[in-house]
């Protein structure tokens, strides 16, 4: 190898250097002595955070935020965000006024301050029951969190945690769902579904699912192109089960709505095929959602025909036979779907005046020909 190549090799190998590598390099080159090596870790840091909270540190930060300069506000927002990393103190953060302060700090001019305060709110909401917050606190956080999602300079972790927080708060009431939609949250969340990061895509999909059955979310699903994406997410259970679970849940809920336009879009989409495929995926949660979706879709004769073609009853019968506790709800939903499918077939045959044969099985399932 020529000597210049070895140089390039060293250069390119070290260009994407991580902090750990940098520290190691400093240690090797004796710029950092063994004694100076930092042994601080997340566990010790968590312990310090709990000590701060015990000593009323959050109240101290809240007091400091009154009349503080922009730079001080940045430090306060940073401190609160870092404190919120420790899940056990998030309740105290709300109790001691840290949450309220973050809402105030998120309305300031400094980008850093706004980002850290919003991130702190997102982190806190991940594990907090929205019911313990006051109505203004619940509603007030929505615009703040959505604004952070639009900030492309934020790290993926911030987007992920804020999406989880938003998902949690969206599940609380229709008022919050309306607020998210009113703040143009649908567009933002849809955009996040195309993130490079798997967890961000997953959290955005879960959040959108929690917006059901808001009329704007229903309108969103009426679009055939959007449904294609949802079907693709639901189908792709092998690469990410939670995203598929959320998408399948959303589709199943959509099937249960009495919206003729949406039902027409669902019939035109690949939803029937996706549900039947999911019955064979082996994941109880996904199968449950697929069975519920099939049950709802039996209201449409076109869908019943599709299910017949796809031999959905055989798959449903296979699920209905499962006895283990984790499959209980899936099996029950499969039985219901199977019955609904038979009933729909019988009524279709009666309507068409053609003979039908019903064969009852020992476990209560039956077959129609």
């Amino acid at each position: 190898m020529p000597r210049s190549s070895s140089f390039e090799c060293i250069f390119f190998c070290t260009c994407q250097i991580t902090p750990e590598q940098l520290a190691e390099l400093q240690r090797i080159t004796k710029q950092k002595s063994e004694a100076e090596e930092d042994t601080d870790d997340a566990e010790r840091c968590g312990w310090r955070i709990r000590q701060i909270v015990q000593c009323d540190g959050i109240r101290a930060l809240v007091r400091l935020s009154q009349g503080a300069s922009a730079k001080t506000e940045e430090q306060i927002a940073l401190a609160l965000r870092q404190i919120a990393v420790e899940p056990s103190v998030r309740g105290s953060l709300i109790q001691q006024g840290g949450y309220r302060t973050c809402l105030d700090l998120a309305a300031k001019d400094s980008a850093k301050c706004v980002r850290d305060a919003s991130w702190c709110l997102g982190k806190t909401l991940v594990t907090t029951n929205p019911g313990v917050l006051t109505a203004p606190q619940r509603v007030g956080c929505v615009s703040v969190l959505l604004r952070l999602l639009k900030d492309h300079r934020c790290p993926d972790l911030a987007h992920f945690e804020v999406l989880l927080g938003l998902t949690n708060v969206a599940s609380f009431s229709d008022e919050i769902k309306a607020r998210i939609v009113g703040e143009k949250g649908l567009r933002t969340l849809e955009y996040m579904q195309f993130s490079d990061h798997l967890l961000v895509r997953r959290a955005a999909t879960e959040c959108l699912t929690n917006l059901m059955p808001h009329p704007d979310m229903v309108a969103h699903l009426r679009d055939g192109e959007k449904l294609k994406l949802w079907c693709a997410f639901a189908e792709d259970f092998e690469s990410d089960l939670p995203t598929a679970r959320a998408a399948a849940g959303c589709l199943a809920m959509a099937c249960g709505l009495s919206d003729s336009e949406l039902q027409a879009s669902l019939q035109a989409s690949r939803a029937c095929q996706v549900f039947v495929d999911l019955l064979k995926c082996g994941a109880a949660e996904l199968v449950h959602r697929a069975a519920v979706g099939i049950g709802y879709m039996t209201d449409s004769p076109e869908c019943v025909e599709k299910f017949k073609e796809l031999n959905a009853r055989a798959s449903l019968a296979g699920v209905a036979k499962k006895k283990s506790p984790e499959w209980a709800s899936a099996a029950s939903a499969a039985k219901d779907a199977s019955r609904a499918l038979v009933a729909a077939s019988v009524s279709a045959a009666v309507a068409a005046n053609s003979p039908t044969i019903v064969e009852a099985d020992t476990d209560g399932t039956f077959d129609v020909t």
Partner: protein, 360 residues
């Protein structure tokens, strides 16, 4: 006299009229406003120069050593305002040259000069460094500290503390460090001088990266900072009528001591060992965190930023800070940085040798 000072300060820092501020919509408007701004600055500068050349200057200088605290503070602020208004540093230096050149062993004069240096550091750091670099200025500070005079010690220690915040000022402090003056001041009964010395040492230590977790200086500074916080808290809870100092002086003293203690802790808090000691508590740091929490009254005080910084540092590991800083700057370590990291290593020599060899 205070009215004269206030009038003079307002005259030298008068808000710009409408034609000299704001931002116009068109290019021509903006240019006209920039010209106006320049003219206004020039006018304020001429006013400040006029003040410095008038007899008021001498009165201001004399009042820097007034027995009344409020007068001292007022003349200090007035000097600062006037010097900020002078837009040409050379002009400012020529105005101060006479005062700077005067060296004397008179305690009052030395106190005034030290106070003036503080005012200059606060107004324009480089001007303060220039004033301190004049013949005998640092020695006068040392003499003031050695004199045992309470006001003199305080003023001189605070001047050194301000000098330690300035790049040019730090280089002038070598004789102070060598003489062990700061070390001696850490044991002084004068709390303000002690806090200023601790703050100076912390700033010098941080700047020179000499403060390691296991160094004795770190321990001593932490000890001093905690003692100062304890003293300030005890003093604040003591019935003030029993104090010999006047109420204003007492309150100012407590506030300044607290600010300096927070300043020292803020400088030391980047060390993981200090973080743990503060949160865990030790002989010297018992109730340290509680004290800091109680100290946070509102965001208006000068210590607010320091306190917020301490809480922010306590709740994070240094590794996370490093990662955040790298991410914020979207930094990929470049070759120049890599070579810097490797500057003392054999690897660097190997690469350098390779490049030179290839170039040849």
């Amino acid at each position: 006299m205070s009215n004269t000072f206030e009038w003079q300060v307002q005259w030298c820092s008068e808000a710009a009229p409408s034609w000299a501020e704001g931002s116009g919509s068109s290019m021509a408007e903006r240019r006209a406003q920039q010209d106006g701004e320049r003219q206004w600055k020039k006018a304020l500068s001429l006013r400040a120069i006029a003040v410095c050349k008038s007899p008021i200057n001498l009165s201001m200088f004399h009042l820097l050593d007034s027995s009344i605290v409020a007068e001292r503070a007022l003349s200090l602020a007035a000097y600062g305002r006037v010097m900020i208004a002078v837009d040409d540093d050379d002009e400012a230096k020529s105005l101060l040259a006479t005062l700077a050149a005067t060296t004397t062993r008179d305690l009052s004069h030395m106190r005034r000069k030290a106070a003036l240096t503080s005012a200059l550091f606060l107004a324009k750091g480089d001007l303060g460094a220039w004033f301190l670099s004049m013949d005998g200025a640092v020695n006068e500070c040392l003499a003031l500290i050695a004199s045992g005079d309470e006001i003199g010690q305080t003023v001189a220690a605070e001047t050194l503390c301000l000098a330690a915040s300035n790049d040019s000022g730090r280089s002038l402090l070598a004789p102070v460090v060598e003489a062990g003056t700061l070390d001696a001041l850490l044991d002084s009964p004068n709390a303000r001088a002690r806090s200023a010395a601790a703050s100076t040492m912390a700033k010098l230590g941080v700047a020179s990266k000499a403060l390691t977790s296991d160094s004795s200086d770190t321990g001593r500074l932490l000890n001093t900072a905690m003692m100062l916080l304890k003293g300030a808290e005890d003093a604040a809870t003591t019935d003030q009528t029993t104090q010999t100092l006047s109420q204003a002086k007492f309150a100012e003293s407590v506030s300044v001591t607290t600010e300096r203690a927070v300043e020292v802790l803020a400088a030391l808090i980047t060390k993981s060992a200090v973080k743990d000691e503060l949160a865990h508590g030790s002989g010297r740091c018992a109730m340290g965190l509680n004290r800091l929490c109680r100290m946070a009254k509102d965001g208006k005080g000068a210590a607010a930023y320091g306190l917020a910084h301490i809480f922010a540092s306590l709740s994070v590991t240094n590794k996370e800070v490093q990662e955040r800083l790298l991410a914020e700057r979207e930094m990929e370590v470049r070759i120049s940085q890599l070579i810097y990291v490797q500057s003392e290593s054999l690897l660097f020599l190997l690469i350098f040798d390779t490049v030179v060899w290839d170039a040849a």
